[in-house]
């Protein structure tokens, strides 16, 4: 019986004869809304690029970007095929300490293109999107530094810090006790992910961390409108960088 039904159903489908993609639907950065994000856009309807960078170290002046990972959040969904991930040949030397963290070896890094070569590609990927990251201020600082060297510019897109958004959310959740408890809480991405039951793989890989951050952002896109933050401008006001 099932086979017959299957046949019938499939016959009905013939007209559709779908276009099949065996590769990502488009090259990163070639798609996106025609116009830059209107601050009046509903939160879930905006296009977000959630990204993370790994650095040679944490010195704001001495260190630089060694890898860059980003995923897209569109209509609240994360299309897996549309990611961006590049290892960068850093301008400054990799410290042993940071190698232990992100696992990118000096050889691997030096075989990679420089950030100058990658930035235009990343900028295309981010076109017309709002950038999102955990403690995104840090990433922004280093990207701006690279960009300044590259063409004297800086990232103009609005950026949202998931850490700030999380702090705002925690302060508004029903239970005032929870607020105090949270004060002492671990603010790391891993801790935040765990609190949402999101399983993190390969922490400190820029792409995997971006993916985890995107999943956190996915939760926030449900929670924020319930607390009155319906539009892009609202979230920029509380968690913008």
């Amino acid at each position: 019986m099932l086979r017959d039904l299957a046949k019938q159903l499939l016959e009905g489908l013939e007209g559709l004869q779908a276009r099949i993609y065996s590769t990502p639907t488009s090259l990163p950065g070639q798609r996106g809304p025609e116009s830059p994000t209107d601050p009046d856009t509903l939160l879930r309807e905006a296009r977000y690029v959630v990204f993370d960078t790994e650095l040679t170290g944490l010195s704001r002046r001495k260190d630089s970007v060694v890898s860059l990972g980003a995923v897209l959040v569109e209509n609240g969904r994360i299309p897996l095929g549309e990611y961006f991930y590049r290892v960068v040949s850093p301008r400054t030397a990799l410290t042993g300490k940071s190698v232990v963290i992100h696992g990118i070896t000096p050889t691997e890094a030096s075989d990679s293109p420089t950030i100058e070569a990658l930035l235009p590609e990343f900028m295309r990927f981010c076109k017309n999107s709002i950038l999102v990251g955990h403690f995104v201020g840090i990433d922004k600082h280093f990207l701006d530094m690279e960009l300044k060297q590259f063409n004297g510019g800086r990232f103009r897109q609005p950026m949202i810090d998931t850490h700030k958004a999380n702090t705002w959310l925690r302060n508004r959740r029903d239970n005032p006790c929870a607020f105090h408890e949270c004060q002492a809480q671990d603010m790391s991405l891993a801790a935040l992910a765990t609190s949402y039951g999101i399983t993190a793989q390969n922490a400190h890989n820029a792409l995997d961390d971006a993916y985890v951050t995107a999943q956190v952002w996915q939760r926030f896109l449900w929670e924020l409108p319930l607390l009155g933050l319906e539009r892009v401008r609202d979230i920029l006001a509380i968690a913008g960088v």
């Binding site: 019986m1 993609y21 999101i198």
Partner: protein, 635 residues
Amino acid sequence: MIIEEAVAFLKKVPPFQFLEEGRLHSIALNLALEFYPKDTLIHRQNGPPSKHLGIIKKGAIKVFVVTEDGEEVVIDYRSEGATFGFLSLIGKDKVRSNVMAIEDTIAYLLNKEIVHQLLTSNPDVTEFLLKAHLATYIDKTYKEMHSKSMFHGGSDRLLFTTQVGELATKMVITAASTASIQDAARIMVTKKVSALVITDHDGQPAGMVTDRDLRDKVVAQGLVISEPVSAIMSKPPLITVDARDFCFEAILRMIRHNVHHVLVLKENKLHGIVTNHDFMILQGASPLSFAKFIENQDRISSLVPVSAKINRVIDLLLKEGAKASNITKIISELNDRIVRKVLTIAEKQYGPPPVPYCWIVYGSEGRKEQTFRTDQDNGLIFQDVEDSELRTRAEEYFASLAIFVRDALTTCGFPLCPGDYMAANPLWRKPLSAWKEQFAGWVNTPTSEAILASVILFDFRGVHGELALAEQLRAHLSHLSRQKDMFFKHMADMVVATRPPLGFFKTFVVEKNGEHKDKLNLKIKCLAPLINVVRLFSLEEGLPETSTLERIQALKDRHPIIRELGDDLEHALEFIMLLRIHHQSAQIEAGEEPNNYIDPEKLSNLEKNTLQTSCKLISKAQESIVRKYSPGTVM
């Protein structure tokens, strides 16, 4: 990385696991990760068709329809690895059912185009998805369609959801093609069958002879009955169906070929036979027709096939989505009828009893919580007699009766009680006064043996004969146990001795070694503690109820703990029993001996959570007993 993670996930999930890795990789590139908070309505009944097939990565969803009367009918619960939105995706019209997240749910969404491409290129995937979605859907919605008519409730639908193999009589009666017509007819009479498979000299089915052949070809045409049976048999091609076909296909074939019997093949070998009578039983509200059938038998041998079919009733009831308590109630009712029938036959054989007696059952049978073939647990109370000659006669009569019943029930497939708690044992076959003394002894001197016996015996109930005798014994017990703190303290010790597994799922107490390593004994670790708690409360209150569910209901007005936890305990009981029935049903299906060992790893997230909650609840009730009796301490 994210694509590899998705591929690793798909590898564990049917039907995707059937695909090769390269294919999975290209599928993964087309997935989108979506999150639905608990209670999100993902698809709305009559809403626009979905554009994606959802694959649950984490969490659980509920598929349900709302009827015109506004009643919610749950079609399915699905958790990790299951898919949703398939029917709506392939149907071009509206969504047929609501899909709601019942936990925070993370799902991968696979777009329509890829799903269609998979369907056209992979028949395995198509069949799997259709089975997974359509079968449950038809199953439940049919029920809904027919639920308005009580008499036809679900019966037609069963024809669409029951596979022929489940219904077929596995023992096929055969005769050699060289046998005479008369011999063949004799076999049909003695075996009480309406069709005979005729085998050739290799034992392969060569043809079939039915009642109708005897009538049409022998009687009506005046054929000589010493002719070989091959002269009247219907010859190949024999009408056959595959064991996996649904019943209605077999019926269609019967109608098309104008026959009443169809051979059932499994992997091209003779598996059994189905007759239109089997379908009639299936179509008539099945447990009821079984009951009627039992009533009409007059020999032990004719009861044998019925009791074997009780397992099938369980399967049917499971499919109907019956609650565990209803399943066990129906099974106990059917088993009671078999016992009564056996006793009636025995009374015919040995003559009327010299004094009134009552046949009692206890253990799970006494609690009406039987599932698949459970041990015989029974006893016999007979009226006290002064006259010593009459007493001797009664003792002899009931001894023969009890032994006859024990053997008859064994023949019918009820295994002997390993503890010998059977009326055939003179310990459990005695006059009312002796029973009263026995119970008094246990309650007044609660040794560990006495406690062990009382947890089995005190769940007794009468099923046949002078039921007043069982009632008098019950009244005596209620009176006896009043204010018997020492007895209850000892029973409390036993009740809290086995704690249900607590804590996070991974730390579920499982068997550490042996055949059932890493398995959870559902009966000993979960069900028995719950039953024991409720029995203790019930005996404290001197209640006459024996079934755990009835006890909980009766205790709700009387017992503070049950007042608080009663509703939840009912749910826990239903859930644990259902889990057990499903487990055993699957084992029987696989040809295994049913047991109580479940693999916690194989439970869905939802089941794990419910089981955990249930265990916590049982433990909470046990805690209250610890507080009251502080077991382990000397009073």
